[in-house]
């Protein structure tokens, strides 16, 4: 069989196509013009929607770009900082706040208790983004350069406790707080002042964070190893009242680095006197009015008449060459106090009214209490400058029992690093 000639094939194809086309009636089965206009309107709506999405994405990218640009002033710096990013970063939390926060505190602890953080053997840098839904968007960035490689383990396994506390209604400093390990604790406070909008507070804090991020290592160590003159440690007799009215039960606990947490026993006139003696720091006696009345020998107390907790503290000698450092973080107005110290302290002087620890170390948790009492008078920037060196870290937590969730159980990650628990004592009288 000979192949069909191309001419013949083309002729047949043209003929078939024409015949097929002739079977098509011309009249549209639908109202043609109206249908076209309906489609035009539909496509216009679709385009507008797409355009809106594109604009939102573009703005988000622009904002991100601006944030990156503002973080550093050059590629060299960025390279230096970014080079220390965590190789493994847990998913960042999203903290959803209700529209009216009121007196509600939202405290969130990193859920990944089994997380393993692998730190690169270099400086580390962490960026935290907090998204506050139903509120003006706040991005709070906390950048931390945490120590040279020789002072930190390559791997920190444990609980990267992470807490975000925001209290717009409270005349206090909500804290964005991060403690990757026991030795290197860094905190950044959202500088929230009365009358501030969230945006204003955020901007101020972001500026502060940027200063930290862009700081070179020498400046960082200078910051964290030397208290500045702007912090007043003198006796204050501070009597600011803590808004405990909404609370029903309050638990007062003293936490220890080895994970222990003991209740503090108060009576109506209890006064805890702590001694704080750190070179460069004036020794002072501070008041902490918690508005608590204890329930006997219990960790649960109920709010009633104000109770003064008198605190004095003395810390030993600091050896700045060790580059150990700690931080003080004040969480919640009058509710949580935390002091974190680095590992390089050689204590000298025992507290005059407190029991001396068996190894001669000072009850630095008492110092935490003492310093914490100053916090209500400090601005956030002063807060940032308040970095203390010490040998141990202790958490002193005073919190309402109604939310005495594990998020306030500041079990010290020292245990993960094999650091023996410090010996701490408290004198209550």
């Amino acid at each position: 069989m000979s192949p069909v000639p191309t001419d013949e094939l083309e002729r047949r194809l043209g003929s078939v196509l024409a015949e097929r086309a002739a079977t098509v009636t011309d009249a549209p089965t639908i109202d043609g013009r109206a249908d076209v206009r309906r489609r035009v309107a539909q496509r216009a709506r679709h385009r507008r929607a797409v355009r809106a999405v594109v604009v939102v994405v573009a703005l988000a990218l622009l904002a991100a770009g601006l944030g990156l640009a503002r973080r550093g002033d050059g590629a060299k710096h960025d390279e230096r900082v970014v080079s220390g990013v965590y190789t493994t970063v847990p998913p960042l939390p999203r903290l959803a706040l209700p529209s009216h926060v009121g007196s509600t505190d939202l405290n969130w602890l990193w859920p990944g208790t089994q997380e393993v953080l692998t730190l690169r053997p270099a400086k580390t840098y962490l960026r935290l983004d907090v998204v506050l839904s139903d509120l003006p968007l706040a991005t709070i960035r906390a950048g931390h350069v945490v120590g040279p490689v020789q002072s930190m383990p390559a791997v920190v396994q444990g609980h990267p406790a992470f807490s975000v506390t925001v209290r717009p209604c409270c005349e206090q400093f909500p804290a964005l707080y991060w403690k990757p390990d026991a030795h290197h604790v860094a905190g950044l406070h959202l500088d929230w002042r009365p009358g501030d909008t969230l945006a204003e507070a955020t901007q101020r804090t972001v500026t502060l964070a940027d200063q930290l991020v862009t700081m070179d290592e020498d400046a960082w160590w200078h910051l964290v190893s030397r208290p500045t003159a702007t912090v007043d440690f003198g006796p204050t007799g501070h009597t600011e009242k803590v808004p405990f009215a909404a609370l029903t039960d309050v638990a007062v606990r003293l936490g220890f680095p080895d994970g222990r947490s003991i209740p503090l026993d108060f009576d109506s006139s209890a006064e805890v006197q702590l001694v704080l003696d750190v070179p460069g720091y004036p020794t002072g006696t501070f008041h902490l009015r918690t508005g608590l009345t204890p329930l006997g020998n219990s960790s649960i107390v109920k709010p009633s008449d104000p109770m003064a907790v008198r605190v004095r503290g003395t810390l030993g000698e600091y050896q700045p060459t060790q580059k150990g450092f700690g931080s003080i973080v004040w969480l919640d107005h009058g509710l949580a106090v935390r002091l974190s110290f680095g590992p390089a302290i050689v204590p000298q002087t025992a507290g005059t009214t407190s029991t001396v620890a068996s190894h001669g170390r000072l009850p630095t948790e008492q110092a935490a209490l003492a310093v914490a009492n100053q916090l209500t008078t400090l601005s956030a920037s002063e807060w940032q400058s308040l970095w203390l060196p010490s040998a141990v870290r202790t958490d002193v937590v005073v919190l309402p029992a109604v939310r005495a969730t594990p998020c306030f159980d500041w079990a010290c990650p020292l245990q993960f690093l094999g650091v023996p628990a410090p010996h701490t004592t408290t004198t209550t009288r």
């Binding site: 094939l9 194809l13 196509l17 086309a21 098509v24 639908i30 076209v36 035009v40 496509r43 216009a44």
Partner: protein, 182 residues
């Protein structure tokens, strides 16, 4: 709605061939006072030819109407920017029909059904063979042997180079020849 489908397609905003599709071309939109009136005239003149072209490309009358109306909608949107709305309309129709064919072939593939011979009266083996061609090859054959477009115009309409059109036509004819010689 077929508009905005993601596959690569002919740039419908480009200049399109001037031949075919009912002469003379409408006046440029800029000089037409009443856009709607001009568009209506284009619709009246071109609807039937475009419908027939679309039927030859997609077989189904309903899908052909869909494609044609969608193409008219695109023309309406760009009316003021078009020099030759008729040619642009044809390009849109071809693109819409190719979308339909691609979608149909995809669905057919999911059903593991590779052939779909027509059951319509009058359908012959040549039409069935035409239906089995890839969309672009089929469109080239229809534009050449039904619309009687030159290879250059087909290239513009399909968004390919003229050499590619030659290849499409040649391979399309070969494929048809194989079918009818079986």
């Amino acid at each position: 709605m077929m508009a905005g489908m993601g596959e690569p397609r002919v740039d419908e905003a480009r200049a399109v061939p001037s031949s075919g599709v009912g002469e003379p071309e409408p006046a440029p939109a800029a000089v037409v006072d009443d856009v709607d009136a001009a568009f209506d005239r284009l619709y009246e003149r071109e609807y039937a030819p475009m419908l027939r072209l679309a039927v030859l490309l997609v077989d189904s009358r309903e899908q052909a109407e869909e494609a044609v109306h969608d193409a008219f909608a695109r023309v309406y949107e760009r009316w003021t920017k078009l020099d030759r709305p008729g040619a642009y309309l044809r390009t849109c129709v071809v693109n819409r029909c190719r979308d339909v064919q691609r979608r149909r072939r995809f669905e057919r593939g999911r059903r593991a059904d590779t052939t779909e011979p027509s059951s319509e009266l009058g359908a012959d083996e040549l039409l069935d063979a035409l239906r089995q061609l890839p969309p672009k090859r089929r469109a080239a054959l229809v534009l050449r042997y039904y619309e009687d477009l030159s290879e250059a115009d087909i290239a513009d309409a399909l968004g390919v180079r003229p050499g590619t059109v030659k290849s499409l036509l040649s391979r399309g004819l070969d494929q048809l020849r194989e079918v009818i010689e079986r």
